[in-house]
Symmetry: C2
Subunit: 337 residues, 2 copies
């Protein structure tokens, strides 16, 4: 298996990303193709006491797309960027999957233009897996691919999310919830009301509306559906709430000796929590609905996060994500779910 890693567009320097790619390649026993500036990648490899070979190769490019660039224009103009070259390689099937911590909008736009959508799916969606109190993750789709959604787009997010949960994550009969501002059917806005009706009449096991305050504690469903604007706000707010609480605990504990001692004793607990909840370390999120395995990593990904994103890509390839997706989405009517 060959997984391509775009090492140019993240918040951290390419060295950090190359490091994660090297580690993932070794652990999984797969080939890694680094997409980006040749010299930079080569020097990163040499710092890691590695060299270019068939397992660790370079797809050279002279351009990089920055986080702040307008996605569509960037993809159209920067034909020799690490992101565009990487997606072209995926399209030509010279690599099996594409992983990037770069400009999410550019990855989405590039994937749609270059790799193309799976027939019948109107819009791709990013499926993030969020840790919950129970220890089992919950899938949220879409967390940022589409910010102007019609009810039909959301219906397809549900179909793709259910397929992903069932056929890639192995959750039998995944239950679907609609992210809303109350559990009653009448709650929400016009788009939400229409999606509610579509899901009620559709083939999926629809559990109704869910709300942000009980998702992580009760895990009422396996898959949460929302438009990409809401999903992105949801994800970042969760991250913000948790980091605010951590700061407040730290501040409070450092106020006196008892607090400091208590903090010391709880250090292993906080450490494991930080690992569990560090959103910049959560593996990548697959972009579902495009005709190839595309995984989006957090912009602030470090080596460990990249390693985990490559893991997600590995599982996507293993489970033949795009074929599974095409079959799954069209199959919900016939397979009796």
């Amino acid at each position: 298996m060959r997984i391509l890693l775009d090492v140019m567009g993240g918040d951290l320097p390419p060295y950090e990303l190359v490091k994660g790619g090297v580690a993932a390649g070794r652990r999984l026993g797969i080939d890694i193709v680094f997409s980006g500036a040749e010299g930079v990648i080569r020097s990163a490899l040499s710092r890691l006491h590695e060299r270019e070979n068939s397992k660790l190769s370079i797809l050279p490019s002279t351009q990089a797309i920055a986080m702040t660039e307008p996605p569509v224009q960037a993809v159209r103009k920067k034909k020799d960027s690490s992101l565009v070259n990487g997606l072209v390689a995926l399209k030509k099937r010279t690599v099996d999957a594409f992983v990037s911590p770069g400009n999410t909008g550019a990855v989405v736009a590039g994937a749609v233009f270059i790799v193309g959508r799976i027939a019948g799916i109107p819009r791709p969606g990013i499926a993030a897996s969020i840790p919950t109190v129970s220890g089992r993750e919950i899938v949220v789709i879409d967390v940022g691919a589409n910010v102007d959604c019609t009810p039909e787009h959301l219906l397809y997010f549900a179909l793709m999310g259910a397929t992903y949960a069932r056929d890639v994550l192995g959750i039998a009969d995944p239950r679907i919830g609609l992210l809303n501002i109350g559990t009653e059917r009448a709650k929400g806005n016009k788009v939400i009301h229409r999606v509610y009706d579509l899901l009620t009449d559709g083939p999926l096991p629809f559990a109704g509306n869910v709300e942000g305050h009980h998702l992580l504690t009760e895990r009422p469903v396996d898959v949460v559906v929302c438009d990409g604007f809401i999903g992105n706000v949801f994800l970042k707010t969760l991250e913000g709430g948790i980091s605010a609480m951590s700061s407040m605990i730290k501040k409070g504990a450092n106020r006196n000796l008892q607090g400091k001692l208590g903090g010391l004793m709880l250090r292993p607990v906080f450490f494991s929590l930080r690992k569990k909840l560090a959103y910049n370390r959560l593996g990548g999120a697959p972009l579902l609905g495009v005709d190839g395995s595309v995984v989006i990593a957090h912009g602030r990904s470090d080596a460990l996060a990249i390693e985990s994103a490559v893991d997600v890509a590995y599982r996507a390839v293993e489970s033949r994500l795009n074929e599974t997706m095409a079959r799954g989405v069209s199959g919900w009517d016939s397979n009796g779910s």
Copy 2:
């Protein structure tokens, strides 16, 4: 000053709400009017060793609006509900403010129908104050009054939020942020782009886009503007993230003796945090833009939360909220802010 408290529609029994009202009335030295079933309120008062008098009076009603009722129909049909009677009293100015932990949609619909909007303000908005790491609150508007918003509605939320922050909370030159999924101008959906332009061209000190993951830690602005659907998801997700983290810490700490000891030593820290972050205890949120002081308390409000919501109403009356709002919103152009 006379503040009316609707004691029928909350999640907790009327006794709990009456208790909060009695405490607030005594502490603030104001009159409290309890709106609801006469017998129930009288027996609650007697359990509290109080009796009906000029400081603690009853506005009797035979109906109550439940949390799950469709707001507009409920307000239209239940003419003798505690909620409708309370808002009629506010309209007639027999009370100075109205506080309810009931069906938010019904309070908003009732306030618009019965009390009316302030001239020139297209839609009211709920302004919630959220605690941040710095200790200073941040105002978020709208957190649930309007779920289908036009750019103009959001512009008015900004004007009302800024007025509230400046003239009621005493924040000089409040800075405004637009809740978005990235800080760059190009981020977001069509409505957001239009609001961005309106705010850029408008009279307020607009600081650009803000994101959920840094709001509580960095407090980059004083007032955050968003549509009521997004704002409600934001608020509940924050609540959910914090409660999930608390559960995870508890679970982790209870795993061994060291953790249990550490938890014991940090108890004062957790206790004060819980008090600070308990969203069901946060004072009420004023409904800005209606021609009277209306304060919405959390549905799960207990006595302490009600006491704090009455506090918010008290400050609203003291600062002549609706006149301030009318003058403030129309005054941003002329007062040189």
